[in-house]
């Protein structure tokens, strides 16, 4: 039986390495909780994390800003919570975006993340975007 407590923190300052860290953190959580690679709730969570993570790492580090993206992943009982904060422009207008038509090549990320999570929180705190991804496992 795996643990039901887990905590991981990292500062991310590069797209490719940042994505590696996000996936690695989920892999560690998978191992810590004794879940298999085919565990569906964790796989859905990782998919949502990949979407929000790539948005944040792509748009959350404006040119000239050296401020990294702050990332934390924790397990509280049976609920996994990821938080990401970035110093990119506010994104309120993108939050309600619906799933685009199948022929569209982009614009799916937020709609996918919303439907895969139990809760996707977003707030603008001064010049910082704060994201909170919640999934019951």
């Amino acid at each position: 039986m795996g643990s039901n407590r887990f905590e991981f923190r990292a500062s991310l300052s590069n797209l490719e390495e940042g994505l590696d860290v996000l996936h690695r953190s989920v892999e560690r959580l998978r191992r810590a909780t004794g879940r298999g690679a085919d565990d569906r709730p964790l796989m859905l969570f990782e998919t949502a994390l990949g979407e929000i993570g790539s948005n944040v790492l792509t748009h959350g580090r404006p040119a000239g800003s050296s401020r990294p993206v702050e990332y934390a992943l924790r397990l509280d009982g049976a609920t996994v919570v990821a938080s990401l904060s970035d110093s990119g422009p506010p994104v309120h207008e993108h939050l309600s975006r619906e799933m685009p038509v199948p022929e569209s090549e982009d614009g799916r990320g937020l709609a996918m993340a919303r439907s895969l999570l139990d809760d996707l929180g977003y707030e603008r705190d001064g010049n910082v975007n704060r994201w909170r991804l919640v999934k019951r496992l």
Binding site: L15, E16, L19, D20, H23, D38, R40, M43, L44, E46, T47, G50, E51, S54, T58, M99, P102, E103, S104, E105, D106, R108, G109, M112, S115, L116
Partner: protein, 113 residues
């Protein structure tokens, strides 16, 4: 982790591309390039062997949609083979499973192609 794309020798006019790694925002350009090369070389029948793809995101998926448009624009056809559970979930969630016929194995995808 960069995406590596192996282009297997064309058989009966069908090119099989085998990406290995994560097909995400960082990996998508490599697949786009390989598709571009395959179409340029006059083989618009393409199978993407997804067995080595551990994870796909919406940008990776976008690169497959772009490939589909490019290949259909050359009167060709694109098939996906051997997607893992995560790739299938993403295809279903985005209803792209209606656009991409996917096959359990490369051999099945090549049958009657």
């Amino acid at each position: 982790m960069a995406l590596d794309v192996e282009t297997r020798p064309s058989v009966n006019g069908v090119t099989v591309l085998a990406p290995m790694g994560r097909l995400d925002v960082a990996g998508a350009p490599a697949l786009k390039e390989a598709i571009g090369e395959a179409v340029k070389n006059g083989t618009p029948k393409v199978v993407i062997d997804m067995e080595g793809v551990s994870f796909v995101d919406s940008t990776g998926l976008g690169s497959v949609i772009a490939a589909l448009k490019q290949i259909r624009g050359s009167q060709g056809e694109l098939r996906l083979a051997a997607p893992n559970q995560q790739v299938r979930v993403v295809l279903e969630l985005t209803t792209l499973d209606r656009v991409f016929p996917y096959y359990a194995t490369v051999e099945e995808a090549l049958t009657g192609f």
